[in-house]
């Protein structure tokens, strides 16, 4: 199962190494990781997407991450209502006769063309991972030359649905 874990960390040298090191040391599989500054100076936010067998493993991951001295807070937000986004840049081959078709795919996905070359386009798409995935599948037949994805970054929504069963950690 896929879980999204967010961490706030002190922006100190080697902090990202500590996190990724821990994943490899404990044999956890990381799907994506994204890092960036936050509104607070000296504090960064890391969003990890992990693929785990069960909730117990995920609980171990959050506990182990929490033990790191430079990690301020760890939250498993998978069971909350979240906004999760990732961005992908796709360089796709575009010949005169396919260009229009490609444009017609871009529109419903609210993607945008950010660079046009002689025989290729660079498309930028943002959205949830599944949406990006779906778009890539659709565009694949036209010939993807290069692809870069950022990994998911996520937030809990401001208002959580109240009928949702909350998932408490045992400790």
């Amino acid at each position: 199962m896929k879980r999204i874990i967010t961490l706030t960390v002190l922006n100190r040298p080697g902090v990202l190494n500590r996190i990724t090191n821990l994943f490899s040391k404990r044999n956890y599989n990381i799907e994506s990781i994204s890092v960036g500054h936050t509104e607070q100076e000296g504090v960064s936010r890391i969003t990890c997407v992990v693929n785990v067998e069960n909730g117990g493993v995920c609980e171990q991951i959050t506990k182990q991450l929490n033990k790191q001295i430079d990690v301020i807070k760890v939250t498993d937000i998978s069971d909350q209502a979240v906004v999760a986004r990732e961005l992908a840049l796709i360089k796709v081959q575009s010949l005169p006769h396919t260009r229009n078709e490609i444009y017609s795919l871009i529109e419903p996905f609210r993607a945008s063309v950010i660079d046009v070359g002689k025989d290729s386009l660079i498309i930028q798409i943002t959205g949830e991972s599944d949406k990006v995935e779906a778009f890539i599948e659709l565009i694949k037949p036209y010939g993807i030359k290069e692809l870069a994805r950022t990994g998911t970054t996520a937030f809990p929504r401001s208002s959580q649905r109240t009928n949702q069963a909350k998932n408490y950690s045992i400790v």
Partner: protein
């Protein structure tokens, strides 16, 4: 006037000096008594200040010996062991010790030299990325970036190393910063927003545990090294007597409960005793206090405590539920938890049948071996060491068969008399760790119980023992082989003794004499008796080369992959 006062106040709170000056000053503020260190290029500015700083400095003959000595010191004194090594090879030589201390939760503050900031990353002479190398095997590590932060970083390092679940902290010290003059606040505030260990347990969880105890029919406490770190042995005794709860110890938890107490069941685990392992298998309530359910303790997890409700008190939340599903998790300091538990009212468990069963197991299945005058039996040697030291020695071991015999045949009555490498199982640990243990307690009778192979991994530390005239009794259990490896090859590899028998050995007696240390070769029990009588009280080091039976095995034993109820060799 007012302004002037304020001015002097600010003045008093900062100190001037080089980075190395500030380092020494910070160590003195932490009341460091002894430094285990080895000089080299990148730490020359620091060593220039150590020259006349007044703190005892111990020069091991190999950096690895230095860090193991610091571990022994930390285990006995309860304080952080301080290590200094130079950059590059000096730093990489302490890696094993860091991993060992991390596994066994020993507080260390380790300083490594580093090449000057300007050349970091250029593969300069004696440069190694020690932060990268040690990230997974330290509780925390960091590099000094400016003179101003030195007092704060060192204060934080001692705080992190010694609080919560203790562990090693490494500070990487670039050479130019050690020499740079600067000004820094003398007693800075520490700033660790991400580090707040939970000490006080949740009251409701304690209640839940107390209720589980009162209804239990077959309760047992598993007491680990967490009790020792929390200095909670007295409370464990009080609680166990109050509720009449039997106690099983882990290897590293030995000494947390008096072994001669009627409620003590002894050590559990791969070479633990029958009663302790069966108590874990049969119990209906298992209260783990400060142990981490290591695989050498549990055996196959599928068969571990299958009928038990598991309660687990640990200061490290990540240990709870890691290996064994836990019904009653209690995060907190063992001392705090036990002091809350002894105050809970509630009836004591009705478990007289259980106690009778445990008692009969104890009578039926004690540790056993067959004695003989020749060849000398290692178990008998261990018993004699116990007798001749009145059971009050500090026992430091290496790793292997002799380590298990020490755990089995030296019943500890008091806490902090036992130093061994448990989690990492580091050969070569014993001799240097004995140095640290003796420096932590100068009046104690320190016995270094070593195998002949492990001794040869750190023989060079004999020089330190001689230099400081540490009256360590070095007992080599010489079976001319890597005993535990040999035992496994005998049992699991059809007696194909692949590189586990050591046919060429130095003369240990002459070797010790070359270092100026008295030594004896001992081949019989009567010889052992008379020589031990002679040397045990001596105020100087002595090396005893016990020629023990070469094919003796450690029993009982839980074979790998088996459950704790599937011991072999439980009886004669």
């Amino acid at each position: 006037m007012l302004q002037e006062a304020a001015f002097t106040k600010v003045k008093a709170e900062t100190s001037n000096g080089s980075g190395a000056d500030l380092l020494i000053e910070a160590l003195k503020r932490e009341k460091v008594e002894v430094i285990f260190g080895y000089p080299g290029g990148a730490v020359l500015p620091i060593y220039d200040k150590i020259y006349d700083c007044g703190i005892t400095h111990v020069l091991p003959r190999h950096e690895q010996g230095g860090i193991h000595a610091a571990e022994g010191y930390a285990r006995i004194s309860g304080k952080a062991g301080v290590v200094i090594a130079t950059s590059g090879p000096g730093a990489t030589n302490i890696v094993t010790g860091l991993a060992d201390a991390m596994m066994d939760s020993l507080p260390l503050v380790v300083f490594t030299g580093q090449v000057a900031t300007g050349v970091i990353g250029t593969d300069a002479f004696q440069e190694a990325d020690i932060l990268g190398i040690t990230t997974p095997i330290t509780k925390h590590n960091c590099q000094i970036r400016s003179v101003e932060e030195i007092p704060r970083v060192i204060k934080e390092a001692f705080h992190i190393a010694t609080t919560g679940r203790p562990g090693p902290v490494l500070i990487d010290f670039p050479k130019d910063i050690a020499a740079l003059i600067g000004e820094a606040p003398t007693d800075p505030e520490i700033s660790l927003p991400g580090y707040q260990p939970t000490l006080e347990p949740n009251y409701l969880q304690i209640r839940k545990l107390a209720e589980a105890v009162s209804t239990a029919k077959k309760p047992v406490i598993l007491a680990g090294a967490g009790i020792l770190f929390a200095k909670a042995s007295d409370l464990l005794l009080e609680y166990a007597e109050q509720q009449q709860l039997p106690i099983v110890n882990t290897l590293l938890g030995l000494g947390s409960f008096p072994a001669d107490h009627p409620l003590s069941l002894g050590m559990a685990g791969m070479h633990g005793c029958y009663t302790a392992n069966m108590a874990l298998y049969e119990c209906d309530l298992l209260i783990n206090i400060g142990a981490r359910f290591d695989d050498r303790l549990t055996g196959n997890l599928k068969h571990f405590a299958p009928k038990a409700t598991v309660a687990h008190i640990d200061i490290d939340p990540a240990e709870i539920g890691k290996n064994v599903p836990t019904a009653i998790p209690v995060v907190g300091d063992a001392r705090e938890a036990l002091s809350m538990l002894v105050k809970q009212d509630g009836k004591t468990p009705q478990h007289s049948e259980w106690m009778k069963k445990l008692e009969s197991w104890k009578k039926e299945y004690p540790y056993w071996y067959e004695n003989a005058e020749s060849p000398l039996k290692p178990q008998r040697v261990m018993e004699m060491l116990y007798e001749k030291s009145n059971g009050d020695g500090i026992v430091v071991t290496d790793v292997g068969q002799h380590q298990m015999w020490a755990a089995q045949y030296y019943p500890f009555k008091k806490p902090n008399r036992w130093v061994t490498s448990g989690g990492l199982g580091t050969m070569g640990f014993g001799l240097p760790a004995a140095v640290g243990a003796q420096l932590a307690d100068r009046s104690a009778c320190v016995i270094a119980v070593l195998g002949d192979a492990g001794f040869q991994m750190s023989t060079q530390e004999l020089a330190v023992i001689k230099e400081f005239n540490l009256p360590i009794k070095i007992a080599i259990f010489n079976n001319r082989s890597l005993g535990m490896v040999r035992q496994w090859q005998e049992i699991f590899y059809e007696e194909r003794y692949s590189h586990s028998k050591i046919s060429v050995q130095p003369n240990f007696v002459k070797l010790a004499e070359a270092y100026g240390i008295k030594a004896y070769e001992i081949t019989t029990e009567s010889e052992a008796d008379s020589i031990l009588n002679e040397v045990m009280e001596a105020n100087e080091p002595v090396l005893l080369d016990f020629r023990v039976a070469e094919s003796e095995n450690v029993y009982p034993m839980i074979a790998p992959g088996k459950g704790s109820h599937e011991m072999v060799g439980v009886k004669k």
